[in-house]
Structures are given as structure tokens and as C-alpha cells.
Amino acid sequence: MRVLAVCGMGLGSSLVLKMNIEKIMEQEGIPGSVEVKDLSSIMGEQADYIFASEEIGAKIEHPAEVISVKNMTDKNEIKEKVLAAYKKL
């Protein structure tokens, strides 16, 4: 599963998101990678899913499915969404 974690600068909240998603993928034995990107440079990127905050997520237009996260630091919410996404794949 190839995931992009996206925020305005590609440095702050997206990095937090990346670390949380990576940890969950490791725990659950999900193969794949998570990369950090900023909003301006995702268009040419290939991915299965894009994770972002709700406000950023609303602005993304991309062939991959965009998954919005309400609370960037809520590990349970992120875990649920990562597992659901992996099942759909």
C-alpha cells in the first residue's frame, strides 16, 4: 500500500501523520510505504491513498482516494482509517 501524507508545507502535520501511519502499518504487518508531500507537488505522484487533515483533504484533487483525518494525533482514528483502506485495496 503506497500512501502520501500531505499538508500545506509538507513538513509539519504531514510528518506527524506519516509517523503514525507507518507505526500502524508496521504493527499490523501491512507492506508498503508512506511519503510526505506538500499540497503543491502531489499531482504527478502515484499512490493508493492520500491522507490529510480535513481542511487540506477538501482541497485535493487526485486520482487516488483522499482520506481525511479529523484529529491528526488520535491514533485510534488513524488506525481505523488505515485498516479500512487496506481492506478495500
Binding site: 499538508c7 500545506g8 508545507m9 509538507g10 513538513l11 509539519g12 502535520s13 510528518l15 506527524v16 506519516k18 509517523m19 507507518e22 510526505v36 506538500d38 499540497l39 503543491s40 487533515s53 480535513e54 481542511e55 487540506i56 482541497k59 479529523k70 484529529n71 491528526m72 494525533t73
Partner: protein, 421 residues
């Protein structure tokens, strides 16, 4: 002897490799697989070289704007842009910055482990910027070698727990007591906004009860907002300077094409630098966080300022507008006071103004958000102007550090260091 010479004169003098070494240590300590250690180390070295290339692009545009303002107004014009000043600082203080950052991480962990200030500062680019500021300020004061790195790292580790601790009472109010702290070096502005809010307003009269158009949220896309601001700044400065002055710099091009291309070149430089910073930070921070979780399991992660935005989206927009207003008002006050002209940039006012708005709203509702963010805007204009003298030759670069804490820390440390040096 040959080996020691190689280490001291070749490795320690090559900041890119030094950054790679720090990443290597972090990843190896976390016992990551060999492939991950190699790719992480190489990526952070690449990132550092990319950062330097971006600085060259950006300087091309900055070296037109600064002298043009000088010719037109007879005053030093400065656009605070963290990425720009840090990339420039790497040309002189690259090795020092890398070492201070590496040992600063360790200082943060030790302080969090031993004292009640249990925060682990995870906003990597701000750690990098603060390390660059400290090496420039201490270096300018005449401190060199091991003392520079030790003093710098201890101060860095200390401010990495101090500022999250200062923001904590307000963060509890904003988030309703969750387990995340704020790790951002604009905290002086946010605390000021929170205190102003307490005095002027009522938290019940919240910004979130009004309708605010969210159309300004495109500013969050920092590459775009930098481009737009810089085109406008070039255009306005050229217009005021007049044809005689701007044609000297435009090489005969019209004011429209000149402003457009210079603004875009500046933003392209910032974007290249950010790409480099992302490659460095994206490898170092996860390693640091992993070590932190093992050594200080009860510590709170201190995270970047946009984590506060979801708690009061209206205050974000109001905060940006009033902070920018504070920046504009200050711009007209700085000249008569004999200080450098600080041109308000969109990116610092958006991120720190928005956060100040959220803080002001938490203690003083609408009035708190407006006045608090305004005060933040004034602070991030006057602090950079007062910071310039302690930056030495970097103070003449036409750009400087943007966020409030860089100013506060730089000014305090700069003047103390001068007493000892």
C-alpha cells in the same frame, strides 16, 4: 594521525556529510534495517546539497530587491523568510548547525528525562532553523569550536522544552486537555496573544459563532502564497522606485515581466530549499521520536502549529488578517525609528497569525483573536528588525528569521554572548 586528520578536516568540515552522520546515528540506534539506514542517510545528505542549490536561486532575486529598496528609500529592506536565511547561514555555519542540531536533540531528551518539563519537540524544520540561528549568533559573538557547539546544543535543548511549557496552559484551554503540546518557535507571539485576549475579551464570545468566508485558506499552500506576495512586493517596490531605478535591475524588461519573473524566482528558490529541508527532516525526526519514546516514555510530543487550526477555523482566518495588519502598521513605524524596513511576508503572518488568533480566541473570544493576532503581527515585525545587529554579516542579507522566538532567543543570547566573548 592520518585518520584523525581525515575526520577533523574532511568529514567535520563537510556539513552535508555531518547531517548524514547524525541521521545515520539516529537510524542505527533505532536498529532500523540496513536498507533503511542507507537510504535515510543518503537522502538527508542529498537534502542538504539541494538546500544549498535553492539558496543560489533565491539569492538571484533577493539581490535585486534589497538594493532596489536601498536606492529608492535609502533604508535597508528585509523580508523575513526562515528558509532563505537558514540556507544562506549554511554557507558559513553549516557544520556548526548540524552539530548543534544533533546534540540539541540529545539535550532535549536529557532535560525531558530529568526535569518536569516532559516535552519532545518534533517540529524538525524549526529545530534546524533554531540551530542555524544559534550558530550564527554565537559565531558572530566570537565563540568558536567545541564551546560554540556545547553552548548552542544546551540552549537549543532548553528552548525545545521551554516554549512548549509556556504554551501549555493555553493549549489545555484550546484542546480541552488532550495529550499534545505545541512545538513551534512562534510561541512568544502566541502567549502574548493569549494574555492580550485575557485582558480585552470574553472566551464565551467566540469567533466560531460567526460566519467567516474560508476562501483565504488557499494561503495555506505556502508555495503559492509566497509566489503571489513576492510578485506584489516586487511590483509595488518597482512602482515606487520609478523607472530609472528598476530598469537598472530589470535589464530593460517592463515592470510587469520583471516583477512576475523575480517573484516567481524567489518562490522557486524557497520551494527548492523546502524540498531539501523535507528530505533532511523526514529522515531525522522519526528516528529522534523513536529514541525519545524509549528514553522518556511519559513525554508529550510537541507538534507544529497547524495542529491548533482545527480547534477554531474562523480564528485562523481572523488571526491571519489582523496579524498582517499589525505587520503593515509596523512597517510604517520602523523607518522613523531608524530600524530596517521589515516587509510583512504572507507565510509567517499566515502560520503564526493564525495560531495567535486561536490562542486569543481561547482566552478572549473575537476581541482576543483580533487584538492578540495584531500584537503578534507587531512582534514579528519589530523582533526581526532588532535581531539584525546580532547576526553579524548575515544581518545584511536582506532576509532574516521570521518567527517571534527566533528574535527573542537571538537577541537575548546575542547580547549575553557579547559580554563573555
Amino acid at each position: 594521525m592520518a585518520l584523525i586528520n581525515f575526520i577533523v578536516y574532511e568529514i567535520l568540515n563537510e556539513p552535508a556529510v555531518l547531517v548524514g552522520l547524525m541521521t545515520f546515528l539516529g537510524l542505527a540506534l533505532m536498529r532500523k534495517p540496513v536498507s533503511k539506514v542507507i537510504s535515510g542517510t543518503l537522502k538527508s545528505i542529498l537534502g542538504f546539497v539541494i538546500l544549498g542549490a535553492g539558496a543560489n536561486v533565491l539569492v538571484g532575486s533577493l539581490n535585486n530587491l534589497g538594493p532596489m529598496i536601498q536606492d529608492a528609500f535609502n533604508i535597508q529592506g528585509v523580508i523575513p523568510t526562515n528558509e532563505a536565511i537558514v540556507a544562506l547561514a549554511q554557507q558559513t555555519f553549516g557544520s556548526e548547525t548540524a552539530m548543534i542540531m544533533g546534540f540539541g536533540f540529545i539535550a532535549n531528551l536529557i532535560i525531558a528525562r530529568l526535569t518536569p518539563l516532559k516535552y519532545i519537540f518534533l517540529t524538525g524544520h524549526h529545530i534546524f532553523f533554531m540551530a542555524a540561528l544559534l550558530s550564527a549568533v554565537l559565531g558572530t559573538a566570537g565563540i568558536t569550536g567545541a564551546p560554540l557547539i556545547i553552548v548552542g546544543a544546551v540552549i537549543l535543548g532548553f528552548v525545545m522544552v521551554l516554549f512548549p511549557a509556556l504554551a501549555e496552559p493555553f493549549m489545555k484551554k484550546i484542546t480541552g486537555g488532550s495529550d499534545v503540546a505545541l512545538g513551534h518557535f512562534g510561541t512568544t507571539g502566541y502567549v502574548a496573544a493569549g494574555l492580550v485576549g485575557k485582558v480585552v475579551g470574553d472566551p464565551e464570545d467566540s469567533t466560531e459563532d460567526i460566519e467567516v468566508p474560508q476562501s483565504l485558506s488557499f494561503l495555506k499552500e505556502s508555495v503559492l502564497s509566497t509566489t503571489l506576495t513576492m510578485i506584489i512586493i516586487f511590483f509595488v517596490v518597482s512602482l515606487i522606485a520609478g523607472r530609472d531605478i528598476y530598469s537598472e535591475y530589470s535589464g530593460g524588461k517592463s515592470i510587469f515581466m520583471f516583477s512576475l519573473m523575480q517573484g516567481i524566482t524567489f518562490a522557486a528558490g524557497v520551494n527548492i530549499i523546502l524540498t531539501g529541508v523535507r528530505m533532511i527532516i523526514g529522515e531525522i525526526v522519526p528516528a529522534f521520536q523513536g529514541i525519545g519514546e524509549k528514553l522518556v516514555p511519559d513525554a508529550k510530543p510537541a507538534l507544529d502549529c497547524p495542529i491548533t487550526f482545527t480547534y477554531a477555523p474562523n480564528a485562523v482566518i481572523i488571526g491571519f488578517l489582523f496579524s498582517f495588519l499589525g505587520g503593515l502598521v509596523s512597517m510604517f513605524l520602523l523607518g522613523p525609528l531608524g530600524l530596517a524596513l521589515i516587509i510583512p511576508g504572507m507565510v509567517p503572518h499566515f502560520f503564526t497569525g493564525a495560531t495567535a488568533g486561536v490562542f486569543g480566541n481561547a482566552t478572549g473570544g473575537k476581541k482576543g483573536a483580533m487584538l492578540g493576532a495584531f500584537v503578534n503581527g507587531v512582534l514579528i515585525s519589530f523582533l526581526p528588525a532588532l535581531l539584525l545587529p546580532v547576526l553579524g554579516s548575515l544581518g545584511f542579507a536582506n532576509t532574516t528569521f521570521g518567527d517571534a522566538d527566533f528574535g527573542v532567543v537571538g537577541i537575548i543570547i546575542g547580547y549575553i554572548a557579547k559580554l563573555f566573548a
